[in-house]
């Protein structure tokens, strides 16, 4: 990786071919492909670990991720044996590159507005594909595309409905053209372009999964590719800490080194803390995914993605700030890393949408459990009412919550006891708040995005606390090097997250003075009515 000249890639907007050759020879194009098809067959944990090494250059990372994490994932997940043997070996060796074609000009996250059509031909052996897709990573380099299009599916009761189906389309099928590479803000080395399909003949055998099952496949693919962002971002931040610490400890201003100033020290502490949390969350999720059996870790992966993308954006910004003016110059890598890091907040599901997903998935689960309770309350069963009233009384009198994390047989090392208590309290009060929210809003909580955002923030903080506490206890107990530093980082993060959660929880109460949702909506409505900033200029006079 040291030989890669990131600056040149950024300036030219293209990854040089010999770099790609080297990546191919290292087998990096087939990290998750099982070994019998020629790939490396890595587990999720190992994939995350390798991702750390690649992450130094953003364009290469994105090219490889678009190829493997989404481009070929479909074939691995639901491909038939025949499809796997036909495509995977060549994709694993890097001879062909894959791309994932879902987004269209009119549809980003809205799957119902996809307009690409696939019509069965008369001889029922081909599908004719027509349409265009935009912003396809690797669009210019790829020869194997996973394309999502609408097909007519006969429903159970005989009516024909339009459903989405996934196809494996090769460039050799004809009719596949791509536009010129887009000029982007960051990850300029990765090739992003429009792909147009005109009467492309796709054989029936190339339907991925079942006809009409494209939606679920798209959701699975998108959900599974996200967790590696945690380790990528953590590696970027670790490299940044090295580079900036070098600078901070040598540069002197006012006869003191920069590293002696409190504000600079705060920045380093922030970067270290974020890196620690990101790593812990990413490997915890990877470990969960590696467990046997099909576990649905989509919520955890989404949490990792949101936290990592926002954390890395903040940390790169702070690192650039430590360098001051020289960080702003193009000959330093910081501005390139900042631009590359910006896309992390946008692709693979924008952070806003993922927050809604995290909150709604959790609320759905909680709602099912609470349904029986709610029904009983509504029916007015005396026992349940007395229980609820008793619980509320005990809450208001400040009961101590014990979930088994601390104490004699506690899971957490005693040095992290305080943080664990904080986590337990947060979890308990979060549970109460979720009950209250569901009873207040019910199904219509889908429309209350500001409420869902807060719920998601609390969940992200809590997952971070869990990951960090478990990792710190483990390193103390098995005696890893510098475990007291880890305990320090863990405690600091837990305290911050605890107070942030308390604030969010207080904002979620009904008619809380901290809750400014009503004002936010009113201001937004007035501005959007006039589509401009409506206040009078400060220098205006009434003469």
């Amino acid at each position: 990786m040291e030989e890669v000249d990131s600056r040149k890639i950024d300036q030219e907007g293209k990854i040089p071919n010999d770099t790609l050759e080297k990546l191919r020879s290292l087998g990096l194009f087939g990290m998750q492909i099982p070994e019998e098809y020629g790939g490396l067959g890595l587990s999720h944990t190992m994939y995350a670990r390798l991702g750390e090494a690649i992450s130094l250059d953003g364009s290469i990372t994105v090219t490889l991720a678009a190829h493997q994490a989404i481009g070929l994932k479909g074939i691995i997940l639901v491909g038939t044996e025949e499809q796997k043997t036909r495509y995977l070996p060549r994709l694993a060796s890097g001879e062909h590159i894959a791309a994932f074609c879902l987004t269209e000009p009119n549809s980003g996250s809205d799957a119902a507005s996809i307009q690409t059509r696939a019509v069965l031909s008369e001889d029922k052996k081909h599908y004719i594909l027509n349409g265009s897709k935009i912003w396809i990573s690797n669009g210019g380099l790829a020869s194997v595309f996973t394309v999502f299009a609408r097909t007519k599916v006969a429903d159970a009761n005989g009516s024909a409905k339009d459903k989405i189906t996934a196809f494996i389309v090769e460039r050799d099928f004809g009719g596949v053209t791509n536009g010129k590479p887009e000029d982007k803000l960051g990850i300029r080395g990765s090739n992003t372009c429009e792909v147009h399909f005109e009467d492309t003949k796709v054989p029936v055998e190339n339907v991925l999964g079942e006809v009409g099952g494209g939606f679920k496949l798209a959701m699975n693919i998108l959900n599974s590719g996200r967790f590696s962002m945690g380790s990528l971002s953590a590696a970027m931040i670790k490299k940044l800490i090295e580079m900036t610490a070098e600078y901070a400890c040598t540069r002197k201003q006012f006869n003191r080194k920069l590293s002696e100033f409190g504000l600079i020290q705060e920045k380093f502490a922030l970067m270290a803390q974020k890196a620690y949390v990101m790593e812990s969350m990413a490997y915890l999720t990877a470990g969960m995914l590696d467990q046997p059996g099909l576990l649905d870790c989509s919520v955890e992966a989404a949490i990792v993605k949101v936290f990592s993308s926002e954390g890395v954006w903040q940390c790169v910004s702070e690192a650039l700030q430590i360098l001051g003016g020289s960080g702003y110059m193009k000959d330093q890598p910081y501005e390139r890393m900042l631009r590359d890091a910006r896309i992390l907040l946008i692709f693979e599901g924008t952070n806003e949408i993922l927050r809604l997903f995290i909150a709604l998935a959790g609320l759905q689960h909680a709602g099912r459990i609470l349904t029986t309770r709610m029904n009983e309350l509504k029916r007015g069963s005396v026992r349940v009412i007395m229980e609820t009233v008793g619980q509320r009384l005990r809450d208001s009198l400040g009961q101590t919550v014990d979930m088994g994390l601390t104490g004699q047989l506690g899971l957490v090392h005693p040095s992290l006891e305080d943080s664990a208590t904080k986590l337990e309290q947060n979890v308990y009060y979060f549970g109460r708040t979720v009950e209250a929210l569901l009873s207040r809003f019910g199904k219509s909580i889908v429309d209350e995005q500001l409420v869902l955002k807060r719920v998601a923030n609390i969940l992200i903080n809590m997952y971070g606390m869990v990951a960090v506490l478990s990792r710190a206890s483990r390193s103390v107990r098995i005696g890893l090097r510098d475990h007291d530093h880890e305990v320090l980082l863990a405690n600091m993060f837990c305290v911050e997250a605890y107070f942030q959660n308390l604030f969010s929880l207080s904002q979620l109460d009904k008619d809380a003075p901290e809750n400014l949702d009503h004002q936010t909506k009113k201001i937004a409505q007035q501005i959007l009515e006039k589509r401009a900033y409506i206040c009078a200029h400060p220098l205006d006079r009434m003469s």
């Binding site: 996250s109 349904t371 003469s543």
Partner: protein
């Protein structure tokens, strides 16, 4: 009162003959009393007019018995070939002072001038008001003792001053320092006009921006632009597009009021277009109107194209596609709905009305013009060709030019013409 006046007159007479006439210089806005004039302030300089004034003049011949001509009204008659404008107004006001320096009947004259201002078009002009205030004699009405200050000194004149300021306020004219100085000279500091001036200075500034839907100060003269302005007020959606279907061509005759081709200007927003495309062709659309919209002092009439609300049984439930959002569930399958504590939807004042699809302002209010509008709308909304359109044109009294006889026949014709229109449209769409 008359004996006091007689005594003063007797004192003034010898002095006034030697006195210098106080000439009002044309164009001067201030009339300052020259200090060297050794005359009593309450005396009139010409002895003859003071003798004549108490006797009321008989009405001039040739007038109707009911109509009483105000004195000095002939000052406001336009000069032959001259227009009624600011200059002639100023001339009229100055002519009042010219024929007598005593300015008898100045209160009535000022009231008359205030009434005549709209004819001359100067009701928004601050200089005209200052000129009018200048008609008052200065220093006469100022209270000189505490006793005079308690009671309203010269109440008729103070009322007149307040009336001038009231007219300024009504037309939104902001008085300036000149006005203040004039009022100070005429009435003194504690007088009612001065107080009113101070209050105007405060409140008129504050009230400049209280209209949440302000109109430009000068309304456009062009009919099409006026119609656009009116339509933008009726349809506040900023994405709406205004289309001019027909410009009014000036007729060859000198009568600009009734052009051959009336203007038709319509407005429609993209949401309305989508709603029209989704509209069920079995339900008819209604062209209703004309409704009046006042823009300052001009009235424009607009028509709307609307449909009735479908009855609740027929209302089709919005289909939520099952596989809609790739990232998060758009619908939670939970049993319970929103609790009543957080339900802000119910509003007793809001009545659900049927959808409105387009609005237009046309020069004429008859069916042919509006049919042209519907044809123009069809270009942007092809779905309109298949939907029957019923014209429900209400005859409104007032400024509409249509005779009432024609209106009745039009309304009876309406029912018969519905099918005719429908057939016509079908034929048009087929051809």
């Amino acid at each position: 009162m008359s004996c006091v006046r007689a005594v003063l007159l007797a004192q003034c007479l010898p002095r006034s003959r030697a006195g210098v006439q106080n000439a009002v210089l044309p164009g001067a806005l201030f009339s300052q009393v020259p200090p060297f004039l050794p005359r009593g302030l309450h005396c009139s300089s010409s002895p003859l007019s003071s003798v004549k004034a108490p006797v009321p003049r008989p009405p001039e011949p040739g007038k109707k018995p009911g109509e009483v001509r105000a004195p000095h009204e002939e000052l406001f008659q336009p000069a032959p070939g001259g227009a009624r404008d600011k200059a002639s107004f100023a001339l009229a006001v100055q002519n009042f002072g010219r024929h007598s320096v005593r300015k008898r009947g100045h209160v009535d004259f000022i009231y008359l001038a205030l009434r005549k201002m709209p004819e001359f078009g100067v009701e928004r002009d601050l200089a005209a008001y200052n000129l009018l205030l200048d008609v008052f004699p200065k220093e006469v009405f100022r209270p000189r003792s505490a006793f005079q200050r308690i009671f309203t000194h010269y109440p008729r004149q103070q009322e007149c001053g307040v009336a001038v300021l009231e007219q300024m306020e009504r037309h939104g004219v902001m008085p300036n320092k000149e006005t203040e100085f004039l009022l100070l000279q005429i009435f003194g500091r504690g007088s009612h006009p001065m107080l009113k001036y101070v209050r105007m200075r405060l409140w008129l500034t504050r009230f400049q921006n209280i209209n949440p839907f302000p109109l430009p100060h000068e309304l456009p003269q062009d009919v099409v632009e006026l119609a656009t302005l009116g339509l933008r007020r009726v349809e506040p959606d900023l994405s709406a597009r205004v289309t001019v279907y027909q410009k009014s061509l000036p007729a060859d005759t000198t009568d600009p009021v009734d052009p051959i081709q009336p203007h038709i200007v319509g407005i429609q927003s993209p949401d309305q277009q989508d709603a029209l495309a989704r509209h069920n062709p079995a339900r008819p659309l209604f062209v209703e109107g004309p409704f009046s919209l006042w823009l300052r002092n001009k009235c424009v009439y607009y028509h709307i194209l609307r449909a009735d609300l479908p009855p609740p049984e027929e209302k089709d439930v919005e289909e939520i596609p099952e596989e809609w959002n790739l990232y998060y569930p758009m619908k939670l399958d939970l049993d319970y709905a929103r609790s009543s504590w957080d339900d802000y939807e119910f509003d007793i004042d809001e009545v659900e009305e049927g959808p409105v699809f387009a609005i237009c302002i046309a020069g004429a209010h008859d069916q042919e013009t509006l049919a042209k509008w519907i044809q123009g709308l069809q270009e942007a909304n092809p779905a309109l060709a298949r939907i029957p359109v019923v014209f429900r044109l209400a005859g409104s009294s007032g400024e509409l030019r249509t005779a009432s006889g024609l209106e009745d026949s039009r309304q009876t014709r309406r029912e018969g013409q519905v099918d005719h229109e429908h057939l016509q449209r079908q034929q048009q769409s087929q051809s």
